[in-house]
Structure formats: structure tokens, C-alpha cells
């Protein structure tokens, strides 16, 4: 049966967003023949949605900025749960990664003296975000895309073939990472257009598939965000780290219903936008948590002065980290002080002239004008929290981006865990993509070159199993297994509703237990998800296959969230409302219950995921020394402080 097309590559990158493309560029530049596989067309990855900017301590806008300050901000934002070595590397290398983009043709907005302009963002002490209006992600993806094309042009000159050393397989989906014993041997994939299966044999695979937002109903994420990479890693035997931390961006559109969840960039607040409730009150002043008390303004006047004179005033609380703002909005709406469509008001119209708004926030202006009939230069926007980002992800080695426990598997970008701790700061995502995308590509290429003469063979049996698994939805009806065939779209909607209602922004023990039961039920029904039609570009089939991944990842989120009995960053427990220092150094690791990567035999009630706790490495003393003692006592347990 395994007469599927096979090709040999050195490095296969799954995902063509910022991290994937950066990894591919690095691997190719280090001499590895590199293949990129992506579900969408080349250049359409979710990275294009990023609006605000790339955080990098280049000190163009404020000369006091440096990597240490950036590191501090990142750790504070993540409530000290970050894999600190990642945060360190990230803060150190981000400026180089941004500057490098300029040499590939990127055009950022400029300062008066011709350097890269930097803007303010939540949680960042100084203006730090390199940006292009409010379409920074588009600039990033296009630059990387064009760099890939540039490399292909070089290869064409040399070999006469654009794709001899770097090839993009667009509109293809990977369903399994193949292994030879413990190590990676390639990937099994299908072409969306034809439904044809193929295998890419490669000793190193970089997973850069992004996030999991499509498991939630209200989300800023696109359909691609079905947690594929998380699931591929789990199925390949790698653990996922701290999956309970899901970031709800405070400002998504709330109306009309069809656009609910679409992102409203944080730049709106960075540039002066304020949040008000239905009483017209700037409520954020009531929600400054103790750990941030010294850093934020106490009065509206002081907050307003900060935009002009940041050295002598403190920033307005609208620019608190995202988790704080999202919770505050949630609380206001619950208290009955929300806007007509269940959000709060975000207003720039009274803060800036219309002309300035249109220039600095062009896509927001158009988004509201065209999708909601709202003119943001004349009236306030209605916004509310939307599922935006998962901090948890594949557990990786900080320096090499290698997934733990599976030699040859690497992960970078949103799919990798650890970097952002319990909450990501705005702007740190794009820099994360670049820093760790490069590192993943680099180490994957090195690893692959080390195996150049003893490439792990691809096991035919695994290919057959993977093919059978992918074809299953077509025979679901015929098998008639304990129930009627199910509609994949319906199952997906139920899954989204479940996660939204029961494992959403505010979590309760009982609800999460209920969620686990519903997930078990959905898992069983998903086995009967049938497909109409044939294999050629069939979205129903694609969704049926993606359901496996979403269900796996959702279970990870729910189980980890149930386990962590505290509130921290992107994980808020109503029944454990405070941050607990004892949890500060605890990681939760999810692994597949069946170590062979099988799913079928698993008991539906017990689930497919096993959870383990581990204690994190102590933060290196020189990094700890960057913080004041008074601040550290708020986060770290006594014994950690005196070590």
C-alpha cells in the first residue's frame, strides 16, 4: 500500500509563518537542503495578522533601553515562569534579527534621524516595537518570503532549478512525524489540492505550526491554528509544556457577530487609546495589581502626561500586560458596566485628530469602517477579550530549540513553549519567531549534517498506518461504529463552544471537569466523522483530520488548567484567585498516554493525555540580580531567594 511519493531532504520545516521561514532560511544558508510544508499558500501564514510590532531593545527611541531591561519586562510579563534562558537569548538577539530583516529589504517606519522607529506597548518599559504602521506581521512575512525567493534565485543561477535546495510545498498538511526508533526519520503529508499522500524523508524536522486558537469559539486566530504542531510532537513522543496558559487578547471586536474575535491591535492603546465602561469611566485605574503598583500612573492626568514625558511620569494602566487588561474587561462586563454588545469602549476618537488616527492605525480604521460601520475617528470601538495566543507548547531546549526526548525534532515560534512563561507581552511574539526560528534552523541543519551518512530510514509500516489514519473519515460511514456518522463542522463548533465556555478566560474546577467529559464524548464522536465527496480539495475531510489535533490539544489545556491551582498570567482560576509562589517553579508536562503514538486503544473517559510536574531550573544569579529584591519577593518562594 505504501506506494506514496517519497523525497529526500535534510531538514523539513512544518509551517511557513515567521518561525518556519526564518528556520528554513537559516538551514538553507547553513548548507542543508530544506523543504518547507505549509497548509496555506506561501505568504499567507497567520503571522500576517500580527499588527503592533517586533520587540527589540535597539534603543532607537529611548537610549536607556537594553537587553537587560527587555529581559526584565519579559520575565515580569510572564510572571517569572518563563524558561529564563530563552528570555535571555530572546532579549539579547532580537535587535540583530530585526536589523537583519532590513538587509533583506524590509522597510520599517523611521525615526527622524533615519533609524527604525519604535513604539510603546503593554508591559514594555520603553518604546521598543519596530513596526510598519499596524501591519508589521505582513512586512515580516513578506520580507522572509522574499528572502526565500532570493535564495531560490541564487540556486537557480547555480543549478538551473529554483527548488534544488529550498522548496516550499504549499497547501500541504503533515499528519504524522515518522520515526526510526527514538529519532525522527521524516514526515507523512498530503497535498490539499489533490489529496495525494507523500513522504518527505529527513533526519531533522522543525515544527513551526503556530497556535491552537481554533479550538475556541471567540478567537483572533485563523483556521490554520488547529494545534497541528502540538499534536504532531505529542504523537511523536515529545512533551508539551504548561498548556494551561492561553492568552486572551483584551481587545477583539465584539460586533457584528460574524467578526467577533477579530483583533484590535494593542497599538491603539500604545498610541493613546483609552478603555472606558458604560459609565464613561476609565476603569483600568481600579485594576492595577500590587506587583505593578509602582510602575503605573495613579491618575488620568499622570497617565496622559506620560505620552509626552515618559521619563517623569508613569504609564497609564491601559498598557498593563494583556492578561491584566483582559481580566479587567471581563470583570467590568460581568458587573453590568459593559457596552451594548457585551464589550467595553476603546476610544481614540477623543484622543487624537482624525488625520493622525488614519495615518497611524490605517488598518484598524478600515477594519471597523468596512466590517462594523464604525468610524473610529468619530466614535469609540466596542472591544472584548478574544483567544489570541498559547504560551504553552512543545518543551524545548533553550539554546537549540530541540524538542525534549525526540532527537531530530525541533520547535520554534508559538508552537514552542517556555519562552513567554504564563503570559506573553505584545511584540515579543514576532521577535520570538525570528530568534528561535533561526536557532531551530541552525541546530536542525547541524544535526542533519551529522547524520548525512546514516540517515534514519523511513518505516513502511508507519507510512501505511498514517495513510490508513488519514483515509479513515472516508470509510467512517461504512464502519458504522456504535452510532450515526458525524458532521465534522458540527463537532468543531461544539468543541469551540466547550472550550470557550468551560476552559475560557476565567476557569472553575467543576467546569473544567465537565469540559474533560465533553471532550471525551467529542473524541468518540470524532471517530465517526464522515466525509462527503472525494479527496480533491475537500475542506470537510481536512477538518475531520484537524479535529484529532484540536481534541488532543484541548485536552492538554483542560487537564493542565485543572491541575494548576493558582491564577497566573493567562491562567485564571476563580476558585484559586491569587498567584501562589509555590507554583512559580513548577512546570506541567503533557505527554501522550500511549507511548507508541497510538490513539485508538485509549480509554475515552481516562483520556489520551498524562500530566507530570517538574521543578524548573533556578534562575541564574546574574539574571536574578537584574531585579530589585522587593520585586522578587512577590514572585519567588523564600527558599529560591536565598539560594
Amino acid at each position: 500500500m505504501s506506494v506514496v511519493d517519497r523525497q529526500e531532504w535534510d531538514v523539513v520545516v512544518v509551517g511557513a509563518g515567521g518561525a518556519g521561514l526564518r528556520a528554513a532560511i537559516e538551514a538553507r544558508e547553513r548548507g542543508a537542503r530544506t523543504a518547507v510544508i505549509c497548509k496555506s499558500l506561501f505568504g499567507k501564514a497567520h503571522t500576517v495578522m500580527a499588527e503592533g510590532g517586533i520587540a527589540a531593545a535597539m534603543a532607537n527611541a529611548n537610549e536607556h533601553d537594553n537587553w537587560q531591561v527587555h529581559f526584565r519586562d519579559t520575565m515580569r510579563g510572564g510572571k517569572f515562569l518563563n524558561q529564563w534562558r530563552m528570555a535571555e537569548l530572546h532579549a539579547q538577539e532580537a535587535p540583530d534579527r530585526v536589523w537583519e530583516l532590513e538587509t533583506w529589504g524590509a522597510l520599517f517606519d523611521r525615526t527622524k534621524d533615519g533609524r527604525i522607529s519604535q513604539r510603546n506597548f503593554g508591559g514594555h518599559e520603553y518604546p521598543r516595537l519596530a513596526h510598519v504602521g499596524d501591519r508589521t506581521g505582513l512586512e515580516l512575512i513578506r520580507t522572509l518570503q522574499q528572502k526565500i525567493v532570493a535564495l531560490q534565485q541564487e540556486d537557480f543561477k547555480e543549478t538551473g532549478d529554483y527548488e534544488s535546495r529550498l522548496k516550499v510545498f504549499q497547501e500541504c498538511t503533515v499528519t504524522r512525524v515518522l520515526k526510526d526508533g527514538p529519532q525522527v526519520s521524516g514526515v507523512f503529508a498530503y497535498e490539499r489540492e489533490s489529496g495525494r499522500f507523500f513522504v518527505l524523508e529527513a533526519p531533522a524536522v522543525v515544527v513551526a505550526t503556530g497556535g491552537i486558537g481554533k479550538s475556541f469559539k471567540v478567537t483572533s486566530n485563523s483556521w490554520e491554528y488547529t494545534g497541528d504542531g502540538h499534536a504532531l510532537a505529542l504523537l511523536a513522543g515529545a512533551p508539551l509544556l504548561n498548556m494551561e496558559f492561553v492568552q486572551f487578547h483584551p481587545t477583539g471586536m465584539v460586533w457584528p457577530p460574524s467578526v467577533k474575535g477579530i483583533l484590535v491591535t494593542e497599538s491603539v492603546r500604545g498610541d493613546g487609546g483609552v478603555l472606558r465602561n458604560s459609565d464613561g469611566k476609565r476603569f483600568m485605574f481600579d485594576y492595577i495589581p500590587d506587583v505593578f503598583k509602582e510602575k503605573y500612573a495613579e491618575s488620568e492626568d499622570e497617565g496622559d502626561r506620560w505620552y509626552e514625558d515618559p521619563d517623569n511620569n508613569r504609564r497609564p494602566p491601559e498598557l498593563l500586560p494583556r492578561d491584566e487588561v483582559a481580566r479587567a474587561i471581563n470583570a467590568e462586563v460581568k458587573a453590568g458596566r459593559g457596552s451594548p454588545h457585551g464589550g467595553v469602549f476603546l476610544d481614540v476618537s477623543t484622543r487624537m485628530p482624525a488625520e493622525v488616527i488614519r495615518r497611524r492605525l490605517p488598518s484598524m480604521y478600515h477594519q471597523f469602517k468596512e466590517l462594523a460601520d464604525v468610524d473610529i475617528t468619530a466614535e469609540a470601538m466596542e472591544v472584548g477579550p478574544t483567544c489570541h495566543y498559547v504560551m504553552g507548547g512543545i518543551a524545548v531546549d533553550s539554546d537549540t530549540a530541540a524538542a525534549r526526548g525526540v532527537p531530530g525534532l525541533y520547535a520554534a515560534g508559538e508552537v514552542a513553549g517556555g519562552m513567554h512563561g504564563s503570559n506573553r507581552l505584545g511584540g515579543n511574539s514576532l521577535s520570538d519567531l525570528l530568534v528561535f526560528g533561526r536557532r531551530a534552523g541552525w541546530h536542525a541543519a547541524e544535526y542533519a549534517q551529522g547524520l548525512a551518512h546514516r540517515r534514519p530510514p523511513v518505516d513502511d509500516a508507519q507510512v501505511d498506518t498514517a495513510a490508513a489514519e488519514a483515509l479513515r473519515p472516508f470509510s467512517a460511514e461504512a464502519e458504522g461504529e456504535a452510532g450515526p456518522p458525524e458532521n465534522a463542522y458540527t463537532l468543531h463548533q461544539e468543541l469551540q463552544q466547550t472550550m470557550n465556555d468551560l476552559v475560557g478566560i476565567i476557569r472553575r474546577e467543576g467546569e473544567m471537569e465537565q469540559a474533560l467529559h465533553r471532550l471525551a464524548e467529542l473524541r468518540e464522536r470524532a471517530r465517526r466523522a464522515g466525509v462527503e465527496g472525494h479527496r480533491q480539495f475537500n475542506p470537510g475531510w481536512h477538518l475531520a483530520l484537524d479535529l484529532r489535533n484540536m481534541l488532543l490539544v484541548s485536552e492538554c489545556v483542560a487537564r493542565a488548567a485543572l491541575e494548576r491551582t493558582e491564577s497566573r498570567g493567562g491562567h485564571t482560576r476563580e476558585d484559586h484567585p491569587t498567584m501562589d509562589r509555590a507554583w512559580r517553579n513548577v512546570n506541567l508536562l503533557c505527554t501522550l498516554a500511549d507511548p507508541t503514538g497510538g490513539l485508538a486503544a485509549t480509554d475515552p473517559a481516562r483520556g489520551q493525555i498524562r500530566l507530570a510536574r517538574e521543578t524548573t531550573d533556578p534562575i541564574r544569579p546574574d539574571l536574578l540580580a537584574l531585579f530589585e529584591k522587593e520585586e522578587l519577593v512577590k514572585y519567588l518562594a523564600e527558599e529560591e531567594l536565598y539560594e
Partner: protein, 256 residues
Amino acid sequence: MSSYEARFKVWRGDGQGGGLKDFTVEVNDGEVVLDIVHRIQATQAPDLAVRWNCKAGKCGSCSAEINGRPRLLCMTRMSVFDRTETITITPLRAFPVVRDLVTNVGFNYQKAREVPAFVPPAGVGPGEYRMMQEDVDRSQEFRKCIECFLCQDTCHVVRDHEENKPAFAGPRFLMRVAELDMHPLDAAAETGLDRKRTAQDEHGLGYCNITKCCTEVCPEGIKITDNALIPLKERAVDRKYDPLVWLGSKIRRRTP
């Protein structure tokens, strides 16, 4: 909130043939055409093929033709149509169809490869780039492009003349040439690459008869014709049809 039933004709088929199929679908307040396509998928035709990603007009995936006009499905609100109107949705008609609303847009990726990349200036390291805002404004406008390829689809040069495809890069990629030619630090000229000349000689700038359909369909509102194509034509004139410039270059070439 009021919902109603709307009538749709959606092209279904593949490279072997196909036709418009009728659907009657519920429409709710504030919805866009893509919502309706999704509803058709979820309730009536689960295998209806359509490309989409962000649903916010940022990725340029869901390009199709609605009532004969190239548009993004996600940015076309249902409220612009009359409730009694039958709305026709077809795939892009300038590219080979794959299935239903999905076309093979490989033409565009091929053309992208034919435009020589940005050439970094020699001797300027990363972090040393200095560019003034007014010098990057023009190229930044073109870099707003989300590559939805609606301009490539509507351009009659290739839409109505398949045989022109090899010779003509299309508005999107002529704009890319303009973007690079206006990039304040692009050093192509120093390496002997004259983008003004190649725009005409290799990318088919002369095929463009500036009928502005590309500008009309651009969902990003980029003034493709006025700000990219015509300036590029004028730059080509500088090179090829300006006798003074021609004479000057002859003389300069003789006395190196």
C-alpha cells in the same frame, strides 16, 4: 438583528467542467459573503472548496468573483446587496480552476521568482541602515500588498489573453519592481541590474495600457496605476525614449 434567506449561485466543478449551483442560505446581520460560504459548507455542501485564512482582509486568500467582480469574500458585506438579489460567486477567472472556488495561482508565484530580489548596499552592515521616512513612503505603500492577486485576475492583459502570460508579470509584480526601484538603499544599479529597463524588457511593462482595473479592485487601496505603474513607465522613458538621456549615456560610455 434580522435574518433572511438569500439566494446564491456558486460555481462548482473542476478542470473537467462545472456550473453554477443554486443555494438558499440564511443571512444574519453584519455578515460577509465568506460567512455565507461557510454556512453552505456546514449545512449543505461540506466538500465545497474555498480558500480562506484570516477572515479580516489581511492575508488575501479568499479572492473570488462576486457578481462578476473580483473581490475578497471576507471583506464583502452582505448589506451591500439587495435582499432580493441572487448573488453569484465564481472562482477567479484568469487562473486555471482547481475545484469550486479554488484556483491555481501558481502563475503569480512564478512571476514573483522572476523579479530579482533586493540588492543590499555594499559596505552597509545590519543596524547601519539609515533611511528617511519620506524616502520609504512610496515603497511602503506597495508593501501593503496582501498578494490577494485580484489585480492579476482582473488585468485584461492576461485575463483575456492567456498567451500573454509568459511575457507579462502583471500589476502585482510590476509594482514589486517599482517598489525595489524606489527603495532608497537598493543597490541593483551598482551590480549592473537596471530595473527601469528590465521592467519593460523582461516584465512586460509595455503590455499595461493603464486602464486602472488593478487599482479599482485593490482591497488595500493601493494606487497601483498612478503610484507604481505610471511612474515605472516614466522611468523606462527616461532610459529608452529620452533623447537627451540617451545622448548623455552614449557620451559617458565613450569617456569612461
